[in-house]
Subunit: 161 residues, 2 copies
DNA sequence: CTAGTTATGTTATTTCATAACGCTGCGGGT
DNA sequence: ACCCGCAGCGTTATGAAATAACATAACTAG
């Protein structure tokens, strides 16, 4: 989305067609297992995130929500995002005020991101927080969640100017 | 600041009197060494951050800016914060949209925070990002900065309800 | 002094997020 | 079948956070 450069933002191509349908169906199945409801607005926002090539802002989702071009009302999208985050289907990237669909297998995981400051790509990776947990323990903190966002240049943007 | 509980937010008592003056003087000295200018608005915002018991929102700073109760204009404070962050005198906490003065000795360091979700305290600690750098290297990213914010309960809030 | 650069003052606007309230529809208990 | 409780949603309105744009002032180097 944030195309500050000319490089292809190809790191995370959006899903379409069968791949998209499969991803949504997997979310649907996971919801049924845990008695959660993937309602139409939630499903729609998840679709939009999965279709996107990169992080989407809340108001991008709001604008793209209606298939007929009608935008959603902000609470519709923010509520859906809250649900998707809670279930682990999406993540918020704090330093971008933006959202991405979860790209990792298995729910309930801890997320971390590599963010390209040139092309805007955001790649999720599996973090190792053992050093941080050790520091927290020394300080006496009981850690519940950890946000980690590394900013720099992706492989594509690193080579050229 | 965010007092969602009754526990004393004593982790980071604000500076006053001589301690405050010393901290500002140290920043002043460091600026002179690097030919940077600690101008009145910058100094004022730094003072406000140092005096505070916890993270301050930008609009808290705006409201508290004038000694006579006159608020600042938003750009005044945002510019000062940008400067203070650049010089390492302050940090932004992304997950709170708030700012803290740097509590670590020596400039140019990497910051990380333990944030209490009950009393709002934010404690800076020295992070070890070696595991994250390894992950970034595998992915081919050149990391420039890392944001790490661990959220949970501080020692004081952990014991009681 | 003069020109270039850095910082500030000011107005307005944009961007991001939530409060509040009533309606709907699904589920469990009787 | 009926009632009720609650999660979810639609809608209006507002609040909170950040920046754009442009004019003026203050340093600094030549
Ligand atoms: Zn994930
Ligand atoms: Zn890139
Ligand atoms: Zn610091
Ligand atoms: Zn606490």
């Amino acid at each position: 989305m944030g195309a500050e450069c000319h490089h292809a933002e190809s790191a995370q191509p959006g899903l379409e067609g069968v791949a998209l349908a499969n991803a949504v169906a997997a979310a649907q199945a996971q919801c049924e297992r845990t008695r959660e409801r993937l309602t139409p607005p939630r499903r729609r926002v998840l679709e939009l995130l999965l279709e996107s090539d990169g992080p989407m802002k809340a108001y991008d989702l709001i604008a793209a929500y209606g298939q007929d071009g009608e935008p959603a009302k902000p609470p519709t999208v923010y509520r859906a995002l809250e649900f998707l985050e809670r279930l682990g289907f999406a993540h918020r990237i704090e330093s971008l005020n933006a959202y991405v669909p979860c790209r990792m297998e298995g729910a309930g995981h801890r997320a971390a991101f590599l963010i390209c400051e040139c092309c805007g790509a955001a790649q999720e990776f599996e973090p190792d927080f053992s050093a941080q947990f050790a520091a927290a323990e020394i300080a006496g903190y009981a850690v519940r969640t950890v946000t980690l966002e590394a900013r720099g240049l992706c492989p594509a943007c690193k080579v050229q100017t």
